[in-house]
Amino acid sequence: MMMIKNKAVVSDDWGVLRLNENETPEHVRVAAGKIIVPLKVWQAQRAKLQGRVDLYVWLNSDERPEVLQGEVVKFAVIAVNFPKFADGLWYSIAYNLRARLGYTGVGFAAGHPATFPACLMNVVCGTACTVV
């Protein structure tokens, strides 16, 4: 999976964990190496995962970042899943992440890049990357 920053590919060895039908947050195996896990997996396996350095979290469109209150500093990166580019809900969520939850890391949007207005995300949310 590619990470694009300032229109250049900066990294392409990030894994994104998505749960299959028969997998549960509590029991899914989180591979070693650079990986971005679903919020529910982080919450379910927090004790086991919190020591890891190169592990980040992604949130789905019906999840709120406020559940990470107090923990956001742990994550250099929080990702948001934008299945539909015209869903602007996440701009406000990202604003809240920065302005209210004090998040200073890199936020990025995982979704279809072709029509994604990444420039807007940069401006309001301080996100720097688009993930393909």
């Binding site: 015209a86 406000s92 029509t115």
Partner: protein, 557 residues
């Protein structure tokens, strides 16, 4: 009048260049229609039944003569010789070809105009009172605030993809002429007991499928806090407005679902952090923007012009025009003139290229080069010396813009309807023409007096039928014919109300008789010369309903 600075020029210029390339790629099929659609909508370009329609933003309805002449040029060169003024103070051109649209946007940019945010799920044109700056009942000129809101909302990154479109209206007078009660956010500038300026804030008004009068969220918001408070309203809406169903996605649905108290609580929770923050409006900023709206160099004149009074006594047509189309002005010796675009047999709100050029000339000659579009689809020349009225009237009359019907029966608000719009259930323009012709007699219209008949071709209510004293709405009965539902008792302004449907719908051919029967009830029930709406309110819809449905209505040939 606001003038672009270098940032405005740059961003609009870059947008034109970007759009030009998008059209090129569409025409060469590099972009599919699905891919192109959101891109063209970002520039207000709709695909309608016969051709492309462009909706151009006219901020709070204000125009220079140069801008109006550019509209005339576009009408002539790219369209069929006319344009249509809308209920949100914008202009639309209905007969455009895709390949011409980049050139049109470039032409518009040359006179400091664009079509950005006139479509899509974003904050649309900020609308206001057509008599802003000149009305006798004005408390504070709303235009500086409207311009500040326009700048703030243009390209706002957080609110570019709202659940649905968002419309804000602002009034600065005692009488609301901006329909603030049926907007997503309605603002009324007021002064409190200490004389401080602030806003009464309404939220969740709207028309369409679920018409609602806005709820008051704040009875007095200090002017400095305007931006931060609206930001919080937008943020709550952006997060919690429904995105699963486009017919339930406006803010009015959210306000109704939560209740105004809970909605207000959520807004003010968000607001706590940003109130008094960097978004606070400063005196410097207000002054900077207000400087664009200073009073023109008025002459010192007597309150009334003797020649006008004399001519009025001699010329009945002029007297009628004076009574209906000329409005009082706060500066002695001046008046505001409404150029009526509601001549019989012409589609309401349409103006030909010749009429636009003539209006621009009138503006240059008599009104400091400026005009306004009203949300009732007429034009206003706001600063006319009373001594110029007679000359102006003759020129306007020669151009078909002086029908003495402002506020009367034939001053109909009408959407484009089935002739143009793919959303419509029925035609609206031919119906408006038929009604205007049927009741053409000026004597009859004067006898009826002030009445607002609003017509829409479908539930989207772009013709504001819900707030018409008589409201007509095209409905779909799935049989291929045109049917119209009639409501009575709606109103805009300070006494805003949603009209009540009187009963089952009527055919196109039955409609003139329906209107006639409604008017008969009014003439029968009215006390002295009270207005139609003042008769309806105490007696309600029932007598109207009873009389209209008493006997079968024969279709008119």
């Amino acid at each position: 009048m606001y003038r672009y600075d270098r940032y405005d020029h740059q961003i609009v210029g870059e947008r034109v260049a970007q759009y030009r390339d998008q059209v090129r790629r569409r025409l060469s099929n590099e972009l599919t229609e699905d891919e192109f659609r959101p891109l063209r909508l970002q520039n207000g370009l709709y695909m309608q039944i016969h051709a492309y329609m462009l909706r151009i933003a006219v901020p709070y309805g204000m125009l220079t003569s140069a801008q109006l002449r550019m509209f005339a040029h576009i009408a002539r060169k790219y369209d069929r010789g006319y344009g249509h003024f809308t209920t949100r103070q914008n202009i639309q051109f209905n007969w455009l070809k895709l390949e011409d649209t980049p050139a049109i946007l470039a032409d518009l940019a040359s006179v400091e105009m664009h079509a950005i945010q006139t479509s899509g799920n974003c904050i649309r044109n900020i609308t206001s009172d057509e008599f802003a700056g000149v009305a006798g009942d004005e408390i504070v000129d709303p235009r500086p605030y409207a311009e500040i809101l326009r700048q703030w909302s243009s390209f706002h990154p957080e609110f570019a993809y709202l659940p649905r479109k968002f419309k804000i209206a602002i009034s600065g007078a005692t009488q609301d002429r901006a329909a603030i009660a049926v907007h997503d956010i309605g603002l009324s500038i007021i002064k409190n007991e200490q004389g401080a300026i602030g806003f009464r804030v309404l939220v969740g008004g709207g028309l369409g499928r679920t018409p609602m009068i806005g709820s008051e969220i704040r009875d007095f918001l200090p002017w400095q806090q305007l931006m931060t408070y609206i930001e919080s309203i937008m943020r709550v809406y952006n997060q919690y407005g429904r995105r699963d169903n486009m017919y339930k996605a406006r803010i009015k649905i959210l306000v109704k679902a939560l209740g105004i108290e809970e909605f207000k609580r959520q807004v003010e929770t968000d607001w706590v952090d940003i109130k008094d923050g960097p978004g606070t409006l400063t005196v410097e900023e207000l002054n900077r923007v207000s400087a664009y709206f200073t009073a023109p160099p008025y002459e010192k004149l007597a309150a009334n012009d003797a020649a006008v009074a004399l001519y009025k006594a001699e010329n009945k047509a002029y007297a009628n025009w004076l009574q209906r189309n000329v409005k009082p002005h706060k500066v002695p010796g001046y008046a505001a003139v409404v150029l009526s675009l509601k001549k019989t047999a012409i589609a309401p709100g349409d103006a030909s290229a010749e009429q636009m050029d003539a209006a621009a000339d009138l503006a240059d000659r008599f009104s400091f080069g400026e005009l306004r579009i009203t949300h009732m689809q007429n034009l206003v020349l706001a600063d006319i010396k009373q001594s110029d009225l007679i000359t102006l009237w003759k020129i306007a009359a020669a151009q078909g813009m002086a029908s003495p019907n402002v506020g009367l029966l034939s001053d109909i608000i009408c959407c484009l309807g089935g002739d143009f719009c793919s959303l419509a259930n029925a035609r609206s323009i031919p119906l408006a023409k038929m009604i205007a012709e049927r009741f053409e007699s000026l004597d009859f219209q004067h006898d009826i007096g002030e009445i607002e008949i609003n017509m829409s071709g479908c539930m989207n209510s772009c013709g504001h039928n819900h707030v018409g004293h008589i409201g007509v709405m095209g409905v779909d009965k799935q049989d291929g014919s045109e049917w119209y539902q009639v409501a009575v008792g709606g109103d805009q302004g300070n006494d805003s109300a949603i009209g009540k449907v009187i009963g089952p719908s009527f055919t196109f051919q039955q409609m003139p008789e329906v209107i006639d029967r409604l008017l008969q009830v009014y003439l029968r029930e009215r006390i002295e010369d009270e207005r139609f709406i003042d008769t309806v309110r105490p007696i309600s819809v029932t007598p109207f309903k009873d009389y209209v449905y008493a006997t079968k209505i024969q279709a008119e040939r």
